[in-house]
């Protein structure tokens, strides 16, 4: 039983990390969209760079949520009800982001388009920020004890939660800027590339703040001190962060983007390894922490889910790689003006 709980803890972390890596560049693209796209054609190009893949990327979130429900139902139930208002905001942002791309191009009225342009920015920013705030608070622990949950939306907006939120926003914006510099051409590409350079400095500052603050605000490092081998995770995250800049400076934008993927993945792994065996620690009474032991599904359910995940996730990855290959070329203004089906 215990090894399955550990397997599902790892899968749980992996699903969230992959979701952030994949939706991260879509969210970052959404945050930058109004600033980098100077006219309607360029904005359309930006939408068409993420168009073919954003929907499939978001499913990692649905799967991460579904996996939480199936593997750790008690955590799923308590987390979603405790963080009710915050998740409601997140949900609305996801709903709005989810219709923007489809609806924006459906009318030529400039006011219509401008409404959706703003919606893309606000929803993408909010999703990035709120996920950061949520995970910051999970790292920090929630005020839970025998009396239930003792917090509100405002207790979540504590300084550490906000720093993690800003970290997520910076990570994703960086990621989106690099994605756009790979997937666009000409002036647009140059603007995206320059933006990535500017953001890197901000990201580095926030990342250092986050790391130091984590030491004081959370117990994540306890696991690292008891098993120092784990330090490899934050080290890879840092190497990724440095790699972004090194490759960027040499003009290897694809490698820089891959470094950005590595950074996001390993920032998540760093946090999640620090949580183990908690899914959500309590910062009032550790007896009420949600752990893999007190909130997991039964052995049978975990076994079934393991078979499903190990069979189907590789298939999903295989066809997603195929899709990224089909759409590997950058999107140009010329192309969207001639392609009748472009958004």
């Amino acid at each position: 039983m215990e090894y399955l709980q550990i397997v599902w803890f790892a899968l749980w972390g992996l699903l969230w990390a992959v979701y952030f890596m994949l939706d991260g560049f879509v969210l970052g693209t959404g945050i930058l969209y109004n600033f980098i796209g100077k006219d309607d054609n360029e904005k359309r190009v930006i939408i068409n760079t993420v168009g073919p893949v954003w929907n499939g990327n978001e499913v990692w979130l649905i799967t991460a949520g579904g996996a939480t429900f199936a593997a750790f139902p008690t955590t799923y139930a308590l987390m979603f009800s405790y963080l009710y208002t915050a998740l409601l905001l997140l949900l609305f942002a996801l709903i709005i982001r989810g219709v923007c791309f489809e609806f924006r191009g459906k009318s030529d009225n400039p006011r219509w388009k401008s409404v959706w342009d703003k919606a893309i920015l606000v929803s993408s920013f909010l999703i990035a920020l709120l996920f950061g705030v949520a995970f910051g608070n999970i790292f920090r622990g929630l005020p839970m004890d025998a009396g239930g949950y003792h917090g509100s939306l405002f207790t979540l907006l504590n300084p550490y939660g906000l720093v993690t939120g800003i970290l997520f926003v910076c990570l994703f914006t960086m990621h989106g800027a690099l994605y756009l510099s790979l997937k666009t051409t000409d002036d647009l590409r140059e603007r995206a590339r320059a933006t990535a350079g500017t953001i890197w400095g901000i990201l580095l500052t926030v990342a250092v703040m986050f790391l130091v603050y984590t030491y004081f605000a959370t117990k994540l490092f306890d696991n690292y001190i008891s098993s120092p081998v784990l330090f490899v995770l934050p080290l890879i995250a840092v190497a990724g962060l440095v790699g972004i800049k090194v490759f960027y400076a040499k003009g290897y934008l694809f490698r820089s983007f891959i470094s950005s993927c590595v950074t996001i993945l390993f920032v998540c792994f760093t946090g999640i390894a620090g949580l183990f065996p908690n899914l959500i620690p309590s910062n009032l009474d550790t007896n009420y922490s949600m752990t893999i032991y007190n909130s997991s599904s039964s052995f049978l359910t975990l076994s079934i889910m393991t078979v499903v995940a190990l069979t189907f996730v590789p298939i999903v990855i295989a066809y997603k790689i195929w899709v990224y290959r089909v759409f590997r070329e950058p999107v140009t203004v010329k192309e969207i003006l001639t392609d009748t089906e472009a958004y």
Binding site: G51, F69, T74, A77, E102, V308, A309
Partner: protein
């Protein structure tokens, strides 16, 4: 109002809204896949234009189906935490499988289809949409297996959890195969997806009829009308058939729902169905019962004219559902089912003739019939969900014990208002876009594109 009532209201509104978009997706995906394969096979540009025109309407609808679906996943945890804790060991699995097996396929290949017209071969492009159609229906299967389990909780074992401050007992998975082969789930799957095909068929027939009446693109819309009519007639027939089998299943698994949907108060041998019935819930009887067809209810639900149907008065008072809501929803749904069958049958007959445009009456009926299958679908869900009350999991967990304990009235009140406003605006935008593109027709769509 308390948290329970508000949460129920919110779940009702958000799931009903979600189900405005889902059925069209289920059926229209199949029709469009058919059109695109016709194009691949015949190379006739007409089929390509049909694929693109109906595809446009499909996508507007699809976007809202996806986003309103996310709400459902969130709400189980947000508003129904006690439910999720209690049943998560069983109920979570089909939802997670749905995401992994079906939703990924659907979402990835819809992207390929929308943006891949010039990137992949014609055949591969048609396959993309075929995969979308398949995955959408597969997705429905997993969701309805989950819902079927709430109607008929098979394969579960009640387990006490010791030494755990977070949870004391729950239903655990005892037999996964039983959950997968649950007849309540499969019947629900066939009945629901087929009703989605009817929605799609009436949608395509209605819009086509609107254009035929105006002499727009006659060949285009006659072909569309014909494909939809045949599809709709077969679906109507099968919906009625599966609905009949579903009734037998309900008699076996949910006797209180059966009694409520037939408004049978007293236990009867050889129970009949009165064509005009008005239930009187306060006095626990029917105020009016006329034009009774004897033994019909027993015959339909037990395949035996003399079978005994247990009446509502013979169940504990706190275990029967709201009778009027269940009864009227079921009645109106059934009548609509029969009406739609006749419309589809007549439409199929007419669509085989060359001069569809001369049957103005039928065409007008077709336009006005677009909402009928939507309405029937919503009523069907009322029968399924209200008829299951007071249980959230039939015979196992009551709805009142399933609601989140940590959520307060203000939170749910605010979220309910926000959902109503957001969904209301999205609904307006969706109807605006659907009617704009639906009325515009394919001609404009392509002329504009070439400019």
């Amino acid at each position: 109002m308390d948290v329970l009532t508000l949460s129920r209201l919110q779940f009702a509104i958000t799931s009903a809204f979600h189900f405005i978009f889902v059925p069209l997706t289920l059926g229209l995906s199949i029709l469009i896949a058919y059109m695109e394969w016709q194009y691949v096979r015949t190379n006739d540009e007409m089929w390509l234009r049909m694929t693109k025109f109906w595809g446009k309407l499909f996508l507007i609808n699809f976007a809202l189906g996806i986003v309103t679906g996310i709400t459902m996943e969130f709400q189980f945890g947000m508003n129904w935490a006690e439910y999720s804790k209690y049943v998560g060991d069983i109920f979570g699995a089909p939802l997670a499988v749905e995401a992994t097996v079906a939703f990924f396929l659907e979402s990835v290949f819809i992207g390929v289809w929308i943006f891949g017209w010039n990137k992949i071969s014609k055949r591969m492009h048609a396959w993309s949409f075929t995969i979308v159609a398949f995955a959408t229906n597969l997705s429905a299967l997993w969701i309805l297996l989950a819902n079927g389990w709430m109607q008929n909780p098979v394969g579960a074992r009640l387990t006490q959890i010791v030494n755990n401050p977070l949870i004391s007992q729950r239903a655990e998975m005892a037999d996964f195969l039983a959950v997968l082969t649950n007849p309540s789930g499969w019947l629900k799957f066939f009945h629901t997806t087929l009703s989605g095909y009817v929605v799609a068929a009436f949608f395509v027939m209605g819009i086509s009829a609107w254009h035929i009446l105006r002499n727009n693109e006659l060949r285009f819309f006659k072909l569309s009308f014909k494909a939809a009519a045949v599809f709709g007639l077969s679906a109507c027939l099968l919906v009625i058939l599966t609905g009949d089998f579903h009734g037998v299943n309900i008699a076996k698994t949910q006797p209180t729902k059966l009694a409520a949907l037939e408004a049978i108060w007293d236990t009867q041998k050889g129970a009949g169905i009165s064509l005009i019935t008005i239930p009187d819930e306060a006095n626990r009887r029917n105020a009016v019962e006329i034009l009774t067809i004897p033994k019909l209810a027993s015959l339909l639900s037990y395949r035996d004219p003399n079978a005994v149907i247990k009446g509502l008065n013979d169940f504990p008072k706190d275990e029967i559902p709201p009778v009027s809501a269940t009864f009227y929803s079921f009645r109106i749904m059934s009548v609509l089912g029969i009406v739609m069958f006749f419309i589809a049958a007549f439409a199929t007959y007419v669509s085989r003739k060359e001069n569809i445009e001369d049957y103005k009456g039928l065409l007008k009926v077709a336009v006005w019939s677009i909402p009928l299958p939507y309405l029937a679908g919503q009523l069907g869900w009322i029968v399924a969900e209200v008829g299951r009350q007071p249980w959230i999991v039939y015979g196992m967990l009551k709805t009142k014990d399933a609601v989140s304990r940590s959520v307060d009235v203000t939170q749910v009140f605010i979220s309910l208002i926000c959902f109503t406003l957001l969904y209301g605006s999205l609904g307006v935008v969706d109807i605006y876009l659907l009617s704009k593109y639906g009325k515009q027709g394919p001609t404009e769509l392509f002329v504009k594109k070439e400019a």
